[in-house]
Symmetry: C2
Subunit: 208 residues, 2 copies
């Protein structure tokens, strides 16, 4: 697998006009897309950060996934269900490649550079997405808030070491872990008192 692949280069190489591809920019707070019907929409996030969010009937926000550079998403990956209206929200300025996916091996008439490159890197992009989703399931399947927090900190520490800044605000983190914000805050205090962690807002230090 080619883990060094950078979609930004890929898109910069893509200079000709392919009718099946669009590149759009979104400002912070804007809705990039909604999952409402079963379309063949396939998106690649070129830059920025975006969340896949949903609100339950109680008004609780759920952050189902967080997307960053090279993340893929779109209706193609989702079984539309009237009970679940998902929205992809830009958390900061985002550049998104939107593609109408029919068959990965189907090229446009001009057999453009974009399609050649997409076919080449599609497996890596998609396997990486599965890896992310599997980790996410492992995290959400944890029973307690404490376990979810420590599990998430573990993932971050693999990447950044014992000290890191959360990619979420505390409030957003609770939505991402699907727990009540105040309960989570209480548990963070317990972890601090027990000298498991040091924390000040987004700054976390693991003491184990």
């Amino acid at each position: 697998m080619n883990n060094d692949f950078n979609i930004v280069n890929f898109v910069q190489d893509f200079s000709n006009n392919c009718s099946k591809v669009q590149i759009k920019n979104f400002e912070k707070g804007e809705t990039i897309t909604t999952f409402l019907v079963n379309r063949n929409q396939f998106c690649i996030l070129i830059s920025g950060t975006a969340d896949l969010v949903k609100y339950d009937y109680n008004g609780n926000k759920i952050i189902a996934e967080r997307f960053s550079k090279n993340s893929i998403f779109g209706e193609i990956f989702y079984n539309i269900n009237t009970n679940n209206e998902f929205i992809v929200e830009a958390k900061e300025k985002c550049k998104v490649l939107l593609y109408s996916y029919d068959d990965i091996n189907e090229k446009c008439k001009s057999n453009c550079k974009f399609h050649q490159t997409l076919i080449k890197y599609f497996p890596d992009l998609i396997i990486s997405k599965i890896t992310d989703l599997t980790s996410r399931i492992e995290l959400l399947s944890r029973r307690t808030t404490r376990d979810k927090l420590l599990g998430y900190f573990d993932l971050l520490s693999k990447q950044y070491g014992k000290s890191f800044t959360l990619p979420f605000s505390v409030t957003e983190l609770s939505n991402y872990l699907s727990v009540d914000r105040s309960s989570m805050s209480r548990e963070l205090t317990v972890l601090k008192n027990e000298k498991f962690i040091e924390q000040d807002r987004r700054k976390i230090k693991l003491l184990y």
Copy 2:
């Protein structure tokens, strides 16, 4: 997308010996594979049912995923983490195709039928897996046992209608939804008393 694709036909077509492919049979209860190292293992379940399971430090069993015909799994899709030892367990007799994945587009010397077919159907298989995982995340992100139950029943009712038999025992279902068995059983009783459902063991009827 070709949703009628059946891997069984595919494998029956695959008659020549490809050095990178193995087909193995497993009896109920046997371990099909474990996720311990970062190998390029990629598996397709040809027949049977299998679970991806993990035990937390408290001894609770977690069913992270359930695999049936055409499901794909393997270490290739998992970030190995020493804290999380996952096992794929056969729930009934299983036939599994094991493949050493390097590059989906890399064919074996003989450019065998297997590789040709795998390349063709790989996108469908993998997109379908992502769809499943996304639904699973939506389910696990629900806050209460009641919501998880109703969410899961919704998924099943889309496929089977208002009356169906759970693909899990009640005990297994609690592991799949990551909740305590007795709590879940209690909530099922509440749902029955409130005339939301009828239930007797695996038999469920939705009354709404």
